[in-house]
């Protein structure tokens, strides 16, 4: 039987849900012997929107961009380390732009066959639904999408995977 998924992508946004999604993706990649990439998109579109709306000063845009770049590095490194614990290489990708567009482009250009997402929060309004980047990623992905919801079960599944000798993560993005 041919393994259904060989190239997986997990989307990170700094939330606990996205880290859980990464843990599920690591477990699945190990089981399927698939390659796993983690992507963090620095949402420069949102920053530009805030400057355009004049909510942010130019100096604030720079400050917050630096903050989010730092978050991206930190979370990508963390997920690389989680993967290393379980013997799964996680390829880190940091990019910037409009989140759902960047993710869709990466999926297409790299022939990814499974997108793993966490962070599907409760939708309070139609406006939220229209504007949610996660919803838009789900709707525009050209491949199957796995939505990870149950954090406790995922943590348990991850913890039961045998550890291997950890290797230091490297910044390769």
């Amino acid at each position: 039987m041919i393994d259904p998924f060989k190239k997986m992508l997990v989307y990170l946004d700094g939330s606990e849900d996205s880290v859980s999604a990464a843990m599920a993706a690591i477990a699945l990649a190990k089981r399927l012997d698939a390659t796993l990439t983690a992507i963090y998109v620095v949402n420069t579109r949102a920053l530009k929107d805030l400057v355009k709306a004049r909510i942010f000063l130019d100096s604030e845009e720079l400050e917050y961009r630096r903050d989010i770049e730092g978050d991206a590095k930190r979370y990508l490194r963390h997920v690389q380390e989680l993967g290393a614990q379980k013997g799964v290489e996680v390829i880190p990708v940091k990019t910037s732009g409009t989140v759902h567009t960047e993710v869709r482009n990466y999926l297409q250009e790299n022939h990814i066959d499974l997108l793993v997402l966490g962070g599907i929060s409760e939708i309070h309004s139609r406006r939220d639904e229209l504007l949610s980047e996660t919803d838009r990623m789900m709707r525009t992905a050209p491949c199957p999408v796995l939505v990870v919801r149950d954090n406790d079960a995922i943590w348990e599944m991850f913890e039961t995977l045998p550890n291997v000798k950890p290797e230091a993560a490297h910044d390769t993005y």
Binding site: D13, G14, S15, N43, A46, L47, D49, L50, A53, R54, I55, F56, L57, S59, Y64, D67, I68, D71, S121, H124, S125, R126, R127, D128, L131, S132
Partner: protein, 148 residues
């Protein structure tokens, strides 16, 4: 994260009583501190005023978004208030401001903070939404407008 994830009934006041820019900011901070006793009023006020000193957060079309990233809060907080009539908030279009969103974020939540600010900007860009907000008479009505 969006505005509706963090906006709570206790943190919405219609109408606001204050009639000057500084008093509006203080009233919004007071609403937060009354609801979250763990926060220090003076620290929050200092952070908001420090940001305001860099440039007014009075935008256009009656919307103002005083905001600050500060260690004085431990979660993203939004307080919303509406004045019965527009007041001078040094808005960029020179008009009065009527819809006020105080947004505060801890130091390490920049991503979610930006999402909430974008959510406010997008929700208030609609003239219809602003008219509906102006006619709202209670916190419940305001919440319904954002959730609907």
């Amino acid at each position: 994260m969006t505005l509706t994830d963090v906006l709570e009934k206790d943190l919405v006041k219609v109408p606001l009583q204050a009639t000057t820019k500084s008093a509006i900011i203080e009233e919004l901070v007071d609403i937060l501190v009354r609801s979250r006793h763990k926060y220090n009023r003076d620290d929050i006020l200092a952070a908001v005023l420090a940001r305001e000193a860099l440039g007014s957060t009075g935008l256009s079309d009656g919307v103002a978004v005083p905001h600050a990233k500060t260690s004085a809060v431990d979660a993203i907080e939004v307080v919303m208030g509406i004045t019965p009539t527009p007041i001078d908030f040094d808005a960029q279009d020179g008009k009065g401001s009527q819809f006020f969103f105080l947004v505060l974020a801890p130091e390490k939540e920049s991503g979610a903070y930006i999402e909430v600010l974008v959510s406010i900007a997008r929700a208030t860009v609609s003239p219809v939404m602003r008219r509906l907000l102006a006619s709202a008479r209670s916190a419940d009505e305001v919440l319904r407008l954002f959730i609907d």
